[in-house]
């Protein structure tokens, strides 16, 4: 186990935006089949971490390494990262008026997995079963991407994309915020089923232990001021929920 190449390896990552350093040396390793969680207060750099791994063009990486199964990600364009198996469920999914959901999903599957996956009955069956599982009405397919979606609907739509794109590494940025109780359960069950015992992995960014209670992450990391200041098991999430972040501040 110790010698295997990690699925995601972040080493001494320094990154920022507009000349301001936000991530100040992040180290994080996720092995295949593992689910990790990141917690931390507002503005601590969680979304920044996710954006840098996905390749948001506004962020500058000053130093450090990010690899997926040993392959350097930092030199790849975001769409190449997506095609290599990285998926990000956005904290604030963007709307694209005029772009139909069904169309968008087929195009995305085609881009990420290849044309063959977007054709014929296989795609249609998978789409049908996935939207049923997530409780998304069929009529959504003819709506426009995230246009006028409620907060929870946006999050369910992110998970629908996750299910269809079958990534190696799924990063979920506060997907649980805005989801109702059943939604959290469904998503948690889905993540567990698609990661545990497979070669994939997940990084769950959250403020609440509720989703972690269902998922039972392998590790929980605490991010403060752009650094990981503590790492533990699921118990750490409970502890944080009780005590807040102050006790970790000066660590």
């Amino acid at each position: 186990m110790g010698s295997q190449t990690p699925l995601l390896n972040i080493e001494k990552l320094h990154a920022g935006i507009d000349g301001v350093e936000i991530l100040k040396g992040i180290d994080l390793k996720i092995n295949e089949g593992e689910i990790h969680a990141i917690m931390g207060r507002n503005g601590s750099g969680k979304t920044t971490t996710a954006n840098v791994v996905m390749g948001h063009p506004d962020y500058e990486v000053d130093s450090g390494k990010v690899t997926l199964s040993g392959t350097d990600l930092l030199n790849l364009e975001p769409w190449e990262r997506a095609r290599s198996g990285v998926f990000l469920s956005f904290q604030y999914p963007q709307s694209v008026p005029g772009l139909q959901v069904g169309n968008f999903l087929r195009k995305s599957v085609s881009s990420v997995l290849g044309e063959d996956f977007a054709k014929g009955s296989e795609f249609r069956d998978k789409l049908k079963s996935s939207i049923e599982e997530l409780g998304i009405p069929r009529s959504f397919l003819s709506r426009y991407v995230n246009d006028g979606f409620s907060g929870g609907e946006k999050k369910r739509f992110e998970i629908l994309q996750l299910m269809l794109l079958r990534p190696k590494l799924a990063i979920l940025d506060e997907t649980d915020s805005g989801l109702d109780i059943d939604g959290i359960k469904t998503v948690a069950a889905g993540i567990k089923a698609s990661i545990k015992g497979t070669t994939s992995g997940a990084l769950i960014i959250t403020h609440y232990s509720r989703i972690l209670e269902h998922v039972k992450p392998d590790k929980v990391h605490v991010l403060i001021g752009g650094e990981i200041v503590a790492t533990g098991g699921y118990e750490l999430a409970i502890e944080l929920e009780e005590k807040g972040y102050d006790w970790l501040k000066n660590k």
Binding site: N51, H56, W79, V96, G98, L99, V112, Q161
Partner: protein, 489 residues
């Protein structure tokens, strides 16, 4: 130079092999604008540059026109001479037009053929490249193809002909149905309307003449394709469509020209007469090369319970000034103007709509979408008027602009003159920019930056594209994808 354009409007895109070969050839010939190749000019008649009463009379004589038409032309010419340039639109660019350096009449083929085989080879090749014959077979009721000043090809499906539908080029229309033409010519757009309408009336040549008899529905669209090939050419087609009571027709128009370093002028007049209960839809996608001034007057009159719809796409040209108009003359008439404009480098699309509610219970809808990129400029200019006697009118105006970079510009000049208090008016306008976050979202789903931008742009145009026949919609999306190619800095 990032502008890339391609036109195979009307052609089926699954014939990829062919189109790609065409594109490569075209690109070799002219750079990026895909319809920008030109053929050697083999004119049979070419007038000298410049305009005079003699030129006007010569055109009329050449066409062996009735006296009244010659007189119309001469009166219109005098009107043109006396009128100042319009003060709206882009007066700076308008001043660049040198009316003395334009050829007002050029004929490349001696006749209008009914069979593509009989069209001179070089001209036929052009339309083959544009995919017109193929489109005709697959989804059109009739086609007219105009090359320079004259129609070179013309056909209509026999079943329509036997139902009494007239679909001719305008010159043949005048020859075969002089009374009908005389009755309606200039009845919607008088030559006194504006300088360019006067110019068109003076030197018009080609265009379409359509009459749909009472109660006849033309199911598949008819198409006209206008191609300018020569340098410094002026194309002045004149189109007149009359839909008799309860009839219905969809007319589609496409246009391209080669890319030259000197400018050409396209100044058309289109008149629509929708008699009671009839329906006319007029769809245009103009993709003129960026050296064409496109100054067009389009207007329709809708009688009781008739509907006129202008679906107007402006992708090409250097300067377009075009405001499709509808006069709602009869009770219960309805007007719709749906337009999109794309303004790239060096382009100004000054487009919009004009609706005049003259009668009660008339309704109108304007939807204008404009995109500016690479320093391009898009303007929406709209006028909606409700006359004092028109009760219970409903009008709805929506204009949206999408600006793709800092150098580009978008303006709206909406005017509403409502003189009857019972009117219900709605007006919405928005200007938006494409954000990095939006692009990033799409890129994270495996789409390249260009694909992402094209998805956003096509989405923005979607309310327009969904009104087009499917073949056109696909083509427009591809055209826009090409416009977005290489646009990422």
């Amino acid at each position: 130079m990032n502008l890339k354009k391609r036109v195979t409007i009307g052609s089926k895109i699954n014939n990829l092999g062919d189109n790609m070969a065409i594109n490569e050839e075209a690109r070799d010939a002219v750079g990026d604008y895909k319809a920008g190749w030109h053929d050697p000019e083999n004119s049979t008649i070419r007038f000298d540059f410049g305009l005079s009463e003699k030129v006007v009379r010569d055109i009329s004589a050449l066409k062996e026109e009735p006296e009244w038409m010659t007189e119309y032309r001469v009166k219109a010419y005098n009107q043109f001479k006396d009128r100042p340039m319009p003060s709206w639109g882009n007066s700076e660019v308008l001043q660049e037009i040198d009316f003395e350096k334009i050829c007002y009449y050029l004929r490349s083929s001696d006749s209008t053929e009914k069979d593509w085989e009989d069209v001179p080879d070089d001209i036929r090749n052009t339309f083959d490249r544009l995919g017109i014959p193929e489109a005709e077979q697959k989804w059109l009721s009739g086609v007219t193809a105009q090359y320079e000043s004259e129609a070179v090809y013309h056909s209509i499906r026999e079943d329509l002909e036997s139902q009494g539908v007239i679909f001719l080029d305008m010159d043949s229309g005048l020859k075969s149905y002089p009374e009908l033409v005389k009755k309606w010519f200039c009845s919607v757009v008088p030559y006194t309307d504006n300088k360019f309408a006067a110019l068109n009336t003076a030197v018009w040549s080609g265009g379409s003449f359509i009459y749909v008899p009472k109660g006849v529905t033309v199911e598949m669209p008819v198409q006209a394709y206008f191609r300018i090939n020569a340098k410094n050419m002026g194309q002045f087609e004149r189109t007149l469509i009359i839909a008799d009571e309860g009839s219905s027709i969809h007319y589609v128009e496409g246009c391209t020209a080669p890319t030259y370093s000197t400018d050409s002028l396209h100044s058309a007049v289109v008149e629509l007469v929708a008699l009671p209960g009839s329906h006319i839809r007029y769809s245009t996608i103009q993709n003129w090369s960026a050296n064409v001034y496109n100054l067009v007057t389009k207007r329709g009159i809708a009688h009781e319970n008739a509907t006129i719809e202008w679906v107007d796409g402006n992708i090409g040209s250097k300067l377009t000034m075009k405001y499709p108009a509808v006069i709602l003359k009869g009770e219960g008439a309805h007007a719709e103007v749906i337009s999109v404009a794309y303004s790239g480098k060096g382009q100004h699309q000054d487009a919009g709509a004009k609706i005049h509610h003259l009668a009660s219970n008339t309704t109108s809808k304007i939807l204008s979408k404009s995109i500016s990129k690479n320093g391009g400029r898009g303007s929406y200019r709209g006028l909606v008027k409700v006359s004092p006697k028109a009760e219970n009118c409903k009008l709805n105006v929506v204009c949206d602009a999408l600006i793709l970079d800092e150098d580009s510009r978008s303006d709206t000049y909406p005017t509403m003159e409502v003189s009857n208090p019972s009117a219900r008016c709605e007006h919405e306008a928005s200007v938006s920019k494409v954000s990095d976050d939006q692009i990033f979202y799409l890129m994270s789903r495996g789409h390249s930056e260009e694909e992402a931008l094209a998805m956003i742009v096509n989405g923005f145009f979607e309310p327009f594209t969904k009104e087009l026949p499917m073949e056109y919609a696909v083509e427009l999306n591809q055209l826009m994808a090409l416009e977005m190619e290489g646009s990422i800095g």
